[in-house]
């Protein structure tokens, strides 16, 4: 008469429940971590994407600079423009302050990676300029 001990069955069920609770608790932790990791990754991806679209988009940056340089106020400015694969250098020995204001206003209000800038006052109305932008 080998009857199964009900206490043993209850104990087994309790052990199974304890194991499952432990497993569930670690899975919940894993879920929390996965969620956090996803949120962090998503934020990083969005931020990186927007930063790259500003500072690592050669075509977009070049197009925007070309549009600035094409404006009427800069036509008589004698700008020397040196285009490289990853940069553009704008130089002038003498530029009218109004044209300089217009150019710098647009450059400084835009999101460009200015790596070199030199504005030297020559007179009340003239200045020299060296400007390098990289992408």
């Amino acid at each position: 008469m080998n009857r199964v001990n009900p206490l043993q069955i209850a104990l087994l069920l309790v052990v199974v429940i304890t194991f499952l609770l432990f497993k569930l608790s670690s899975l919940k932790e894993e879920l929390l971590e996965a969620n956090e990791s996803y949120k962090t990754s998503e934020k990083l991806a969005i931020d990186l994407n927007s930063l790259k679209s500003v500072y690592a988009s050669p075509k977009k940056t070049q197009k925007a600079i070309n549009r600035i340089l094409a404006q009427r106020s800069l036509r008589g400015a004698n700008l020397e423009i040196k285009r490289e694969k990853k940069s553009i250098k704008i130089t002038t020995k003498s530029i009218d302050t109004a044209a300089l204001n217009s150019l710098m206003g647009k450059i400084l209000n835009g999101s460009y990676n200015i790596t070199l800038l030199k504005i030297k006052r020559l007179s009340e109305t003239k200045a020299s300029l060296v400007l390098e932008i990289k992408w």
Binding site: M1, I17, K23, Y38, R121
Partner: protein
Amino acid sequence: MKFKRSSRVLFVDPSVDTVFSLDKGEKVDLILSPSLYWVKKITIPVKSVREVKKLLPSIFLDSLPEGHYSYSAYKKEDDFIAFAYEDKKILALLAQKGIGLSSIHSIHFAQSEFETLESALEINEMESIYLKDDLLVVVPTVWLKESAPLVLEDKKLSKHTIKLQQFGHIVDNKSFYMIGTILSIFIFILMVEIFLTHSKIDTIESAKDSLFSKYKLQSTMFQNRSTFTKYNNIHTVQTELRAVISYFLSMPLRATQKITLIEYKEKKLIVTISGVIKGQERGIVSKLNAKKVKYKLSFSGQNMKVEVKL
């Protein structure tokens, strides 16, 4: 062809102090003395034994001393033979007699095994059993004219057996099944929850993978963090450069004071202002102080050089 019985038949009587010696692995069939149970012959209009069993606690209610009883019954012709017994007492007696539960092959009531008894049988030195109105009773042997010795060898046993509830006195079957069901339901709920949590983790992981293709990220987060740091540093420096230039352009300069040079190279901004006499600079750089910009001042004649490290 006669098969030898694989288990020994023992008569369990509380009045006898005999301790049985069983061989290792030996199985025994037990016949319980009438002293170990209460029996009733009942006639009720129900068909099945199962239905009768449900009624037994109320049938025996007034005739049993206080205790925790189990019930059993079998049908005999148009009547039912009903039993009430205490598992705990029987188990204690079996333990006392050296009969382990693992050695028990079957347990029978003497009532079912001797229901065709024609004469009395001696179950111990003082008592005998005999049938009275179809019920087996124990009486002192001296009351009887004659009584034959009890011989159990080659005894053919009926199919009416019982199973003793080891823990019936702690928790009854109904409660046990209820607790078992509740625990099982809880296990089921936990397993479902585990499955759902697993699925959620998988969904999040695949969503994370899709981020890489959606935002054209590099293959590892380490690389992406490194790229982010690079561009974020550029962004911080560029924002600061524009802010600091705007501070200089909005400085309160006198008519004689002019910004003559703005130079930025390798994260260093140098601004030269002419017409500044040493000691007059406090008003000029007040905006830098207000904005908590760290700078270095130097003079060359009336030219003030402000150096800001970004």
